[in-house]
Symmetry: C2
Subunit: 504 residues, 2 copies
């Protein structure tokens, strides 16, 4: 036990049970990782229903092989395209039931953006991360153990097929090591998370009895940037506003009309620039209203989070500039506005000497406890209107073009609110203790994850509590090209879930 | 003569000579347009040297067929890829020599962006413009005259193969109608204009004797938006600055880092927004300095330009908003800054929930007499620097990323200055009179075209004067998809050049 890094009130040592799980991994690493690679080889882009089904079949087979009971697909009432995979291991005498959640679908891919030698659904092994100069290496023969600093690159490697396989292997490790879970375990793997979980509520609604539990453990997202494990008590909500502004109906020669015709690119630049000040604070009226302040316990937990701002700035390659009054841990406890994408015409070799006809930006809104996603969208729309724009929700008509000097078309996505579970609940304390039992280092306790999951549906339709326990390395490139998982994180994840399945 | 539309001091009637040319066109319209269509069927994307050469061969053949003398290709000294086509018709006793210029290369094409049924190098005939609801129709049999309101759609139809063919047919019409040019005629057709005419000066430099003249008549660009013919005494210069600003080295999850990490899209929006005020006036320091004020005669000419702002706003589909103190004719007599393209990440179905790594804008700078293109570029760079940016001309290094909160990479294009010929020159007066002799309506006299041509090279290397006489309809979609020429403009162009070849 190292006093320097272990300053919480929990036991700072790895339990004997955890060491058995580690031993199991070491003895079975090739079969475990072979199965993982096969899983990653099945394309899983969300909404690709044929391949989504192949992934679901793969998971069902992996569950049956492990002796998990009552394995089945749970369908939404309105579509067969996005089933969740369910299974259970009920333990005689267990007083509590925990549902372990992960999702098996992945973000869309643009293969051309992936690094040389990589394809999203052809998993490869690398020494170190490619961004840090790592290179692609061969998978070792079965006689040679893996170097756990190696990484597997593929879509879904971290987000979130690692979660699915870590949960299943944790159960396997417990049983095959002659141990027993202390709680009833239910497995729930979603196939539509990256598309916004639009049908998840239908599955919950029609399976309330099957999905009874004392807690959902959500496996998604990365561990803390310091490398420490973390337990996260909430997630931010998320919604989007796409805005398109208009100029001429046809592209104009930038010489003949270059001072005179409206420039949608410049109009959009001015509109976006009006939304944040130079410190990154959102200037939209009332944007930070509705936020429920952090509790004393949450503030205390945040104070204990190791500061990683400098490390992250260095790793990500920038000098700090925005949000000068906020550190990273504090910043994610506020609602945010971010431009996911912005486009008008082409640049580089795709540029033409024209004035473009329109300009579009996709705006991402993250929400914290207290925010309502529809209200947050409306604040943005009201702001655009206050900049003199006529708001429409379809392509402007000729009459509208003739009448309004500034026209903005708004496309609203769906969305959902943030969700937070109290750190004071007895089962929350059990979760913290279980995760702490797997590591000699401090476990970080976060009031919320920066990322978003539609956890509100569990509360709304099942009246259930959720706590998130992520396992991926923080530099996993989730949602982007070159997604990867570090093998050590994958193994540590198996240990974490095993400890949770055996929580005291 | 209509007093309402003819208020210049020139003769407002069509001369007998012009009517003979019109008669010739009417009797030979099928062979003239068949040849034009064959010409348009040869792909002419600038830099496509194999096809560029096929176009040059076609022109040489067309010149030889017409009895034009000394037909040859003029090559730059450093490349064989972009020859100009030369020929001459020297008239015994003629005191002056006019060179007629057009270019035969065209802008790049993106076939998928062209309207249904169109391909850039498969010319089709349409009734009216497609944008105004016109439809594709069959070419008429040789027994049926063309409706001159019809249009031919193809890359180069207006910019600038129409110029080449109008000039050659003007000469043909004079000779075959039993008339005689009053000036020595030299023909000069460039093959590299749309790529920036980078090698034109080499051709001029090595052929100073061959290219002696009293005036170059440049045929490029459109007639006035009012539909009136115009004589243009200058062109704007042009250059570009591409700017890229940087955030994290890898794309970041917009949830986990959404309030904290720098957003290149927002940085670029703020940077671009700082370059213009809400009236479209450029706010870059000294941007309007160096401009040589218009002469009294130029101001008078501008006052006589029929206002087309309202007509153009209606046609282009917008309510007026920028540059409230400037009308279209006035605006093009100022330097401009326009965003040709702007991009960071994707929008619509290409959007991801990320914070992007960089954002890029291509900025187009148009110049008027007095501006120096390198100085104008520098004003933009100095402005970016004044917004707190570290300026680099290559990808930023890790050291630079760690040191500077705001980094802008600058990519500078080539460029050239504006060019203007005095309206007071005797030969300028002859040109105006010749063009006026072809129409009952007022000829518009413009100090400058909004667009750009590297006319400075004629002055620099040949000490030559240039006057531009465009013929295309203003709604020809030059540089964009669906380029077209209205047949009436093509025929009128033949008449205009014939009058110029017979100037008094």
């Amino acid at each position: 036990m190292s006093a320097a890094v272990c300053f919480t009130h929990f036991l700072c040592a790895q339990s004997a049970d955890v060491l058995k799980v580690r031993n199991y991994f070491e003895n079975n690493q090739h079969s475990i990782l072979n199965e993982f690679v096969s899983f990653l080889s099945i394309p899983n882009v969300t909404n690709d229903s044929a391949n989504i089904r192949r992934n679901a079949d793969f998971i069902m087979n992996a569950m049956n092989t492990r002796g998990i009971q009552n394995v089945q697909l749970l369908y939404p009432t309105t579509t067969k395209a996005v089933p969740s995979v369910y299974g259970e291991a009920l333990i005689p005498g267990a007083a509590q039931t925990i549902i372990f959640y992960a999702h098996y679908d992945g973000q869309p891919v643009i293969p051309s953006q992936w690094a040389k030698g990589l394809a999203p659904f052809t998993p490869v092994l690398t020494k170190e991360s490619l961004e840090k100069g790592g290179s692609i290496i061969n998978f070792p023969p079965s006689s040679t153990p893996y170097d756990l600093q190696n990484r597997i690159y593929a879509r879904g490697a971290s987000d979130d097929k690692a979660g699915v396989m870590a949960i299943l292997n944790a159960y396997d490790a417990i049983v095959k090591s002659g141990m027993k879970p202390t709680v009833n375990i239910k497995f729930f793997f979603e196939g539509e998370e990256e598309a916004g979980s639009d049908h998840l509520f239908e599955i919950l609604q029609t399976n309330t009895a099957l999905l009874q539990s004392d807690l959902w453990i959500i496996c998604d997202g990365p561990v803390h940037q310091s490398g420490l494990k973390q337990v996260v008590f909430g997630v931010r909500g998320d919604t989007h506003v796409e805005v398109t502004v208009y100029g001429s109906k046809r592209p104009l020669h930038s010489g003949h009309y270059g001072n005179w015709a409206p420039s949608p690119a410049m109009m959009l630049a001015k509109l976006l620039a009006s939304m944040k000040d130079d410190n990154g604070r959102v200037t939209i009226k009332g944007f930070y209203d509705d936020v429920i302040p952090l509790t004393a316990k949450e503030k205390k937990a945040l104070e204990l989070v190791p500061p990683v701002d400098e490390q992250m700035q260095k790793e990500l390659g920038f000098a700090k500039r925005e949000m000068k009054d906020f550190n990273l841990a504090g910043a994610i406890n506020l609602p945010s506005l971010n431009i996911n994408g912005m486009q008008s015409g082409g640049v580089g070799k795709n540029a033409s000497n024209v004035i473009t006809t329109s300009a579009t930006a996709k705006i991402d809104l993250r929400l914290v406890a207290g925010n309502d996603w529809k209200k947050q969208q409306q604040k943005v729309i009201t702001h655009i209107q206050a900049q003199g724009y006529f708001i429409t929700y379809k392509e402007p008509t000729d009459e509208e073009r003739a009448k309004y000097p500034k026209i903005a078309k708004i496309e609203l996505s769906g969305g959902y609110n943030a969700q937070k579970t109290s750190m004071n609940l007895p089962i929350a304390q059990k979760v913290i203790a279980a995760v702490q039992s797997t590591t000699k280092e401090q476990v970080v306790l976060m009031p919320t994850l920066g990322g978003s999951l539609p956890l509100f549906v569990f509360e709304k339709y099942l009246n259930a509590k959720t706590i998130t326990v992520p396992i991926a390395n923080h530099d996993n490139n989730q949602h982007a090209e070159n997604e990867n998982i570090r093998l050590l994180n994958f193994r540590n994840g198996i240990e974490t879930f095993a400890a949770l399945m055996m929580m005291k």
